[in-house]
Structure formats: C-alpha cells, structure tokens
C-alpha cells in the first residue's frame, strides 16, 4: 500500500513539525509514504466563507493530484473533514474522491495500531477539534494512542469537546467572541494541571497557544503527531 501525504497549507507553512512527525511515525510502522509536490490547499477557507465555486476548483485539483493513492493521510481533522464530508457536496455524491484519513484515524482504524512505540513523560490533556469530533466522529482514537505512550499521563478536561474559538476567518471577523471562547478553553485546560495540550489540529493549538503565551502561562501546546514521534 502506498500512502500519500496531504500536508494542509496551514501545517505546511506554520507547523511543519506536525507533518514531519507524522512521516516519522508512519515510517516507523513501515508505511510506504510519498508526497505529491503539486498539493496546496483543500479549499476550506473559501468553502467556509461561502465561495463555493473557488472551493470547487481546488477540490477538483485535490482529486486529480491524489487520484492514484491507495490512501491519503492528513495531520488535520479539519482538512480531512473538508475532503470527506464537503467534497461530495461540491462535486456531487457520485464523484470519485480520494480516500482521505485523519492521522489518528488512519493509525487506529486502518492500520489497527495503538502502540506506536512512543515515550513522552508528561501530564497532558487532549483537546478535541470540532471537525475531528463531530464531522469525522473521532473521539476515542487519539486517546487510545495517547494511553499507549510510555510515561504519559492523560488528564481529561471538563470542556474537551467545547470549541476553542478558532473557526478560521471567524477568529478574525469576530475576534472578541473568539477570544472569549479561547478563555473558556484555557480555563478548562488549567484546571487539569496538565503541562501540555495535545490535539490533532494545529489550528486549534495555534488559537490556544496564542492565548497561553500572551498570558505567560506555563502550559505548552504540541500536536498529537509530535507526541507519537517522541522516543
């Protein structure tokens, strides 16, 4: 099986380590990965703003680029949801859309792996990204992976399923609401006593980290892939 990597623009440009860590883990599990150089963006920013024609152009482009892959793996629940749940709406239910999986989902549900041989001695709490949780219905998969990480103590926060307030352009168009949501999220994280917030979506982590650093709080953010790549 040849697995294509889809590294969303956001991860590519701002959080490449999440993508690199995903490659490390997949290779450790002897997965044959390749990276189609032509890829750019799945089209979600346009789609969510209402520019569906523009999004459709990029959706078609994605389908062409990844057409030959047995599977596509992506370090983002949000962009995976865009491809799996919204491309059919843009391109028609009959269209052929490359089978795209979120990273944790691919490990647990496709490869059947929960122990990736990682070691990360720290107290962590997991933030569910809305798209992974409610569009892809991934709740337990990332936690199954974290529970098998050596030395890691998983602490659940009371607001794990509450949105962090990012929402793409929402956080720029309605910054005060987005900020209040961020505050609710961070308060819930703080109550756990965790040293790290882990998530499958770097955009959520950017939102949370932006608040933590401005407030000089000692909690760090890290992607699930980077935790799983640690040894």
């Amino acid at each position: 099986m040849r697995v294509a990597l889809f590294i969303p623009c956001f991860v590519d440009q701002l959080f490449p380590n999440a993508g690199i860590a995903m490659v490390t883990v997949l290779r450790r599990l002897n997965v044959d990965v390749y990276y189609p150089q032509e890829q750019t963006c799945c089209g979600q920013p346009a789609f969510n703003t209402g520019y569906w024609d523009e999004a459709r152009t990029l959706a078609k482009r994605y389908c062409e680029i990844f057409a030959g892959a047995d599977a596509v793996v992506c370090p983002s629940g949000s962009c995976t949801a865009m491809v799996r749940n919204f491309y059919p709406e843009l391109l028609g239910a009959q269209s052929s859309i490359p089978r795209t999986y979120e990273f944790a989902e691919f490990l647990v549900k496709q490869l059947g792996v929960t122990d990736v041989g990682a070691k990360f001695p720290a107290r962590v709490t997991y933030h569910d990204s809305c798209h992974a949780l409610r569009e892809l219905r991934l709740k337990d998969e990332p936690r199954q992976l974290l529970r098998k990480v050596q030395g890691l103590e998983l602490l659940e926060m009371d607001q794990a399923e509450t949105c962090c307030g990012f929402g793409g352009t929402f956080s720029v168009k309605f910054p005060m609401i987005s900020y209040a949501m961020d505050e609710v999220k961070v308060t819930s994280i703080q109550k756990t006593g965790a040293e790290y917030v882990v998530s499958g979506d770097s955009s959520c982590l950017m939102q949370i980290d932006g608040y933590l650093r401005r407030q000089n709080l000692p909690i760090k953010t890290i992607s699930l892939a980077e935790v799983l790549a640690s040894t």
Binding site: V172, S178, M181
Partner: protein
C-alpha cells in the same frame, strides 16, 4: 444609521467583556446541562427518538399544505375559527379586529415567541389595550422593558438578586432573596389580571392535524388560566408547528421537555380542542387560531434548508452553543437567538441585513448534535454563507482577496513563493498589522524557516 451587523459587533464586544454576565449564563446553562443529561438517561434510545421525530417532521413539512388544511377543517368542525396570516401585519390587524369586535380592554398572554416575532404587545398597547405577560420570565421581561433573552428561558441572564431588584424598582416591593416570595409577588398581581381580562392570547407548541387541537407546554399554569378564563382565546401559531396525529404527542411532548428543560414532561400539558361546548361550564366563548406564515413559506420553498422548519423551539442549540454562551441572547438582535436563529433569520427577514449571523459561528457543530429533530444546523449556516456570496453581499475587497488567493493556490510554485514571502514578512514583523484583530489579545506563532515542502525536498524521499 447603525446596521444590524454593526450593532451585533458592538453588543457582542460589550457582552463578551462583561465577565459577570458570562458567569451568570454559564452557571444557568450548567444547571440546564445537568438536568438534560438526567432527562436523556430516561430514554432507552435517545438517538432513535430523534430520528423518529425528524421523520415525522419531515413528512409533515413536505406535505404541509395537506396537513394545514386538515387542521383547519377540524378546528372549524370543533367550533373554532381559523385566520391565515401571510405577514406580521395581517396577524396583528386580525388580533386588533377581534379585540374591537369583543370590546377588549385587557389581554393576558402566555409565553409565545410568535407573538414576539410579530411585535404584538406594542400593537395592542398602541391600540389602548392593556396587555399583561403572565409567564413569570416574560412578566419580568415586560416590566424591565426587555425582549426575551432566550426562546425558552426569557430571563436566563438574571440572578435571583437581579429579579428582586427589578421588582423593588418597578413594583416597589420590599427586597427579598427568597424565590418563593418573588414568585408570590408576581402571582398576586397576575391573579387579578387573569380575573379581569377579556381576551387570552397564547402560542402553541404543536398543532395537531387530525384532531384540530393545539397543545401547550408550560410549568406555571399561567397558560391554562390565559386560555380558559377570558371570553375569547386567540392562539397565534407558526405554520411549521403542525404534527400529523394526536398519537405523535407521545413522542413530541417528552422530547420537547427533555431538550428544553430536562423534564420528563412539563408540569402542565394542555390540549385545546375548541371553545366552550354547550354542556360545559367554563372555557372561552370563542376560539381563534391565527396560522402565521411571515416568511416561513420562503423557507419551505428552499428544499435544501426546509428541515429548519422542523424546529420545535426547545432551545437546546442555544444552550450548547459556545457563541451564545459568551455573547448571550440579546446581542443577536433577533426574535430567535442562537444557531437556529442564525439559520432562519436571513430567510424570514432580510437576507442582506442579517447576513452576518451565519458568519458569527465557528461551525463547531455542537448544535446539530443536540437538535432533537435533527436539523442540520451548522451545515445550513454554510448554505446561508454560500447564498450570501451568490447574492454578492460580500465586500469587493474580500471578493478580490479570494480571487487572488485562488489564483495562488492553483499552482504549487505560486503558493510556495507567496507563502515564503508571507513567512518572511511575519518574521520581520511586517505582516502583524494585517493580523491585528487576532493578535490584539493573542501571540501569533513565529513562522518556521522551512516549510514541510522545503523539508521534503531535502530530506523526505528515501533513496
């Protein structure tokens, strides 16, 4: 003139900065959450109940013409009257006509969002008819001169102390911290109003096609007094309130109360089948149903979003919405707040004026998960956004930006060059002003020197 969108931004900013306000609603919604969790645990299969309810509503809304006419025939047969109101003006004028015909000087009202929607109280007061809200929450709203803050819980934003202070200021009652005493203050005043009212106005939670009855759900008994004591009862019913069969209530009554308040069933559940019959000693002499369209048929004509008419107004989507929990109900400036309001308001009212509401969501989808009639709420927000762009409600600058963005994203080379320049500008601190709304209260990450693309070119492919 301030537009609805500017007003929304201003109010949202004020409300999110008001930490006391946020603490009050989060506490009140917290008790709601606990009650609803208990309520749902009484169901053997909550998801199946939702699916069943959605299927019944789907059938009703997709054959609404038939069910409405059946309902009308049965109301008439039971001795009631039906008026079809196409607009809010039609509905208000009909109420005023009935009031004049019966020499009405005082109206008692039970809680009804449709009457809020058509601004009935103002119309009645202007016509010189004394109008009294009898639901405790609505009564408090009325004496404060505020619209309801929430479609189910009109004063969710107030504490017991706030209510005591309102009563003290507006009614001159002594200060108290006892909920019982506060309720008694309202009860004594309202009892007198019930006894002297000429007309009772209610909404309806359900209108039952095969019996011509309306069903009313409440916890205070005020609705029952409102429709049974005065000479004339007028019920203002949105056309989407129909359910086909009497038996469907067995599903819908508990579903509404479980999602609305966590109760298995509300304290008072009433069925009204017409005016006082010959052998009966009480009840109104006349029973009028006003079937209200007011934009609903526009939504009905939209096959994609028609399921928004499934709504039974339980308020669950408001209570779970992280936006609602932070800005509260008044900031929306609409009759129907929260996710359902942001879905339907652009359809029921002016699509351009209210086009900001579908955007004021992070699309987290929590609303869709809790909706007891499975309305695809957050996807309808996306549909509304697409409609807004199709109708060119966007700014020319935004349109241009997305055009340039698309051109860039269609080539991996253009993308890589633009992104590299962007990262450089960020590292030099040149691009930060553009991100100001975001960075005003948050730190933007320092972009890395190399992108994933750069990494892969150097180290990625195995040789």
């Amino acid at each position: 003139m301030t537009t609805a969108s500017e007003q929304f931004l201003r109010d949202a900013a004020t409300k999110t900065a008001d930490l006391r306000h946020r603490a009050v609603i989060q506490k009140n919604i917290g008790s709601y959450d606990a009650a609803v969790t208990r309520g749902k645990s009484r169901y053997a299969d909550w998801q199946n109940a939702r699916s069943r309810a959605a299927a019944i509503k789907w059938e009703t809304i997709n054959h609404l013409d038939r069910y409405l006419e059946q309902f009308e025939r049965n109301v008439l047969e039971n001795g009631g009257h039906v008026f079809w109101a196409e607009t809010a003006v039609d509905a208000r004028e009909h109420v005023l006509l009935l009031a004049r015909r019966h020499g009405v000087r005082k109206v008692v009202k039970s809680k009804s969002m449709t009457t809020e929607e058509i601004h009935l109280n103002e119309a009645l007061e202007t016509a010189g008819i004394h109008t009294v809200e009898t639901d405790l929450g609505e009564y408090i709203c009325q004496i404060r001169g505020e619209p309801p803050y929430h479609i189910v819980t009109p004063v969710m934003h107030l504490t017991k102390a706030d209510i005591a202070q309102t009563f003290q200021e507006k009614l001159g009652t002594p200060p108290t911290d006892s909920a019982e005493e506060l309720a008694m203050i309202a009860r004594v005043r309202l009892r007198h109003e019930f006894m002297t009212a000429d007309m009772g106005i209610t909404g309806a939670n359900f209108a039952i096609a095969d019996t011509g009855m309306i069903a009313i759900t409440e916890n205070e008994g005020n609705a029952r007094l409102s429709f049974s004591l005065p000479r004339v009862h007028v019920a203002i019913v949105g056309i989407e309130k129909l359910i086909p069969h009497f038996e469907d209530l067995a599903l819908f009554w508990p579903l509404l109360s479980t999602s609305g308040t966590g109760q298995a069933i509300t304290a008072y559940s009433s069925l009204i089948g017409g005016p006082r019959q010959g052998c009966e000693v009480d009840g109104p002499q006349e029973f009028h149903v006003i079937l209200l369209d007011n934009g609903r048929t526009k939504l009905l004509a939209d096959a994609e979003q028609r399921d928004a008419l499934h709504c039974i107004r339980c308020g669950a989507c408001l209570n779970t919405c992280p936006i609602y929990k932070n800005i509260g109900g008044h900031a929306y400036g609409t009759t129907y707040q929260g996710p359902i309001g942001s879905v339907i308001t652009p359809h029921l009212r002016d699509a351009r004026e209210w086009s900001h509401l579908p955007y004021s969501s992070s699309l987290c989808g929590a609303c869709t998960d809790v909706c007891p009639v499975r309305i695809d709420l957050h996807h309808h927000l996306l549909h509304n956004r697409r409609n807004a762009i199709q109708h060119k409600f966007d700014s020319p600058i935004q349109r241009l930006l997305f055009g340039v963005w698309l051109w860039t994203m269609q080539s991996s080379i253009r993308y890589a060059v633009a992104a590299k320049l962007g990262r450089l500008a960020l590292r030099l601190g040149l691009a930060q002003p553009l991100l100001k709304p975001w960075t005003a209260k948050r730190e933007f990450p320092t972009p890395p020197k190399q992108s994933f693309k750069d990494y892969w070119r150097r180290h990625g492919p195995r040789t």
